[in-house]
Amino acid sequence: MAVALNDDAFVVSRNTVWRRFRRHPMALTGAIVIVLMALFAALGHFVYPVDPNAIDQVNWTGYPLAPGVGGHILGSDENGRDLLARLIAGAQISLTVAVFAVVMQIVIGSFLGAIAGYYGGWVDFWIMRLTDVVLSIPLLPLLLVLTAIVSATSNKASLSFGVIVVLIGGLTWPAAARLVRASFLSLREREFAEAARAIGGSDARIIFRHLLPNAVAPIIVQATLAVANVILTESVLSFLGFGIQPPQASWGNMLANAQTNITIAPWVAICPGLCILIVSLSINYLGDGLRDAIDPNQR
């Protein structure tokens, strides 16, 4: 999903971008939904102070509790834990994993892409071959293998959240690297880059102070769309039991056990999935709107 780069894209003022962005009702809605979801994750516990891991000893009978029973607004899961509280905790985990993994992906990708695009030659060749190799391996099977290996070799019973972030971030950077390299290839030939070189700016200074800020537009779009992908990836991993480990809640692992009780308690399966769907749909719409606003020639 490469964003085509034309020179005009760099000179569009912020006002123009905002004006174009406003024309996309779905993108605006998406942005609002994401803000609401972030608030839900950040402030949910203060509004609804229930422990997500506490088992309702009074009402629990071995099956999920129906919504409303025993004061659980959305009922409970198969272990008698409050569903809404777990949704809030899951939102925190899923969103934080997504944000950190994307930051990591963008940092690695931009750095390698910038170096490859700026220096060209054999540096470019080897970085791009590395990118091809990482891109050519199917992401999900590789992630499954790696998480399985890490959890087998580490003595800890549960996989830490950091491992997931590092693995996802460390395997998804090639898209960003390609994007940044493509814009650097044209940027390094521009007059201002030459001017910076002429007054004796070091390579590092030219790359990070002069060129990178000009390549930021496509990076933002890429980062937005990547958040949706990471949320989906994390939830799949957790669903298969290779991601965030219970009792810690994540939207993915909340669904893992929902299948067995789906006949008697469909809401346990519906709620977390709906959250994932809403968030990733909003982000995709937002990213699409941003792309149109920043680079309208894409359409």
């Binding site: 791009m128 099977p141 499954l144 293998v145 290996i149 669903f239 519906i270 982000i283």
Partner: protein, 303 residues
């Protein structure tokens, strides 16, 4: 130049050894921990293993002492059946949807198809599969006065079940998978079709009085297919790799579930076999895609 571009894009070829390297070394760390009998250095093990594979021997599975080749050949037909149906279906519908929404850009048809594509893109597979099971399988559904409840697990009711039974089992997983692929295909088809129908030669074709159908199908369609070939090439390895998540939810005993089982039991001979086969297909699919480019676009020359 085009040739060079394509070759440098193709991830297979000389890079295949690197492709397998990270897995084998990582795998060996755990293998060494598991059975201490193997204390040879990792590179030697790798070379040994590679030597066997070149001779067509993937070794034996450590979890059920079946030869890896047999285990894979056992599961392969099921995966081919499921993925073939899903991808084929998605391709046909996706291409039609893509063309439709491109030639009727900004109409309600376009809006509907784009929205559908967005949903398909954002949908968590496993959740979608659960919802489909809930809707069509668990409670069943009533249509035309009949009550249906499609089977939600397995690929057939028994060894000697008929064709009808197998098709019944195929419907739900294939539908779930094809919706996901459909989203991707229709989006790509739409954007590449849009690009093509705004080009000069299409205007020429319309100007000389050809019917809209003729212009679209004979002139635009073929050229719009070229970007799609890349996407299809990326999808072909799934045909043998299977769909890990969907197969698990629908208890479909294909390559995807073989992979997950092997992973759960740290059966690395089996894992490597499955991964290698996928890698092989990545290379093959890329080669095929290159040939298809030349066939679709005579300007691409191989010297």
């Amino acid at each position: 130049m085009i040739l060079f571009g394509i070759i440098s894009q193709a991830p297979g070829g000389p890079l295949t050894p690197y492709l397998q390297n990270p897995h084998i070394t990582a795998a060996d760390i755990v293998r060494l921990k598991h059975n201490l009998g193997l204390d040879q250095p990792v590179p030697i093990q790798y070379l040994h293993w590679l030597g066997q594979v070149v001779r067509g021997d993937f070794g034996y599975s450590t979890s059920n002492s079946e030869s890896v080749m047999n285990a894979i050949l056992d599961r392969m037909p099921y995966t081919l059946e499921l993925m073939g149906t899903a991808i084929g279906l998605a391709l046909i519908i996706g291409v039609c949807f893509g063309i439709l929404s491109a030639i009727k850009q900004y109409s309600w048809v376009d809006f509907l198809i784009t929205t559908l594509a967005f949903f398909g893109q954002s949908m968590p597979v496993f959740w979608f599969a659960l919802m489909v099971q809930l809707a069509f399988s668990v409670n069943g559904f009533t249509c035309c006065g009949y009550h249906f409840a499609l089977p939600s697990a397995g690929h057939s009711s028994g060894e000697d079940s008929g064709l009808g039974d197998r098709i019944e089992h195929l419907i739900l997983p294939a539908a779930v998978l094809s919706v996901l692929y459909l989203a991707q295909f229709s989006r790509f088809m739409r954007s590449s079709m849009l690009e093509v129908i705004h080009s000069d030669y299409i205007r020429t074709a319309s100007a000389k009085g050809l019917t809209r159908f003729n212009v679209v199908m004979r002139h635009a369609f073929r050229n719009a297919l070229i970007p799609l070939v890349t996407i299809i090439a990326l999808t072909i390895p799934d045909l043998v790799g299977g769909a890990v998540v969907t197969e698990r939810i629908f208890a479909w005993g294909g390559m995807g579930s073989l992979f997950i089982d092997a992973l759960g039991q740290f059966d690395f001979a089996l894992l490597m076999g499955v991964m290698c086969l996928s890698a092989l297909f990545v290379v093959l699919a890329n080669l095929t895609a290159d040939v298809c480019y030349a066939w679709l676009d005579p300007r691409v020359k191989y010297t």
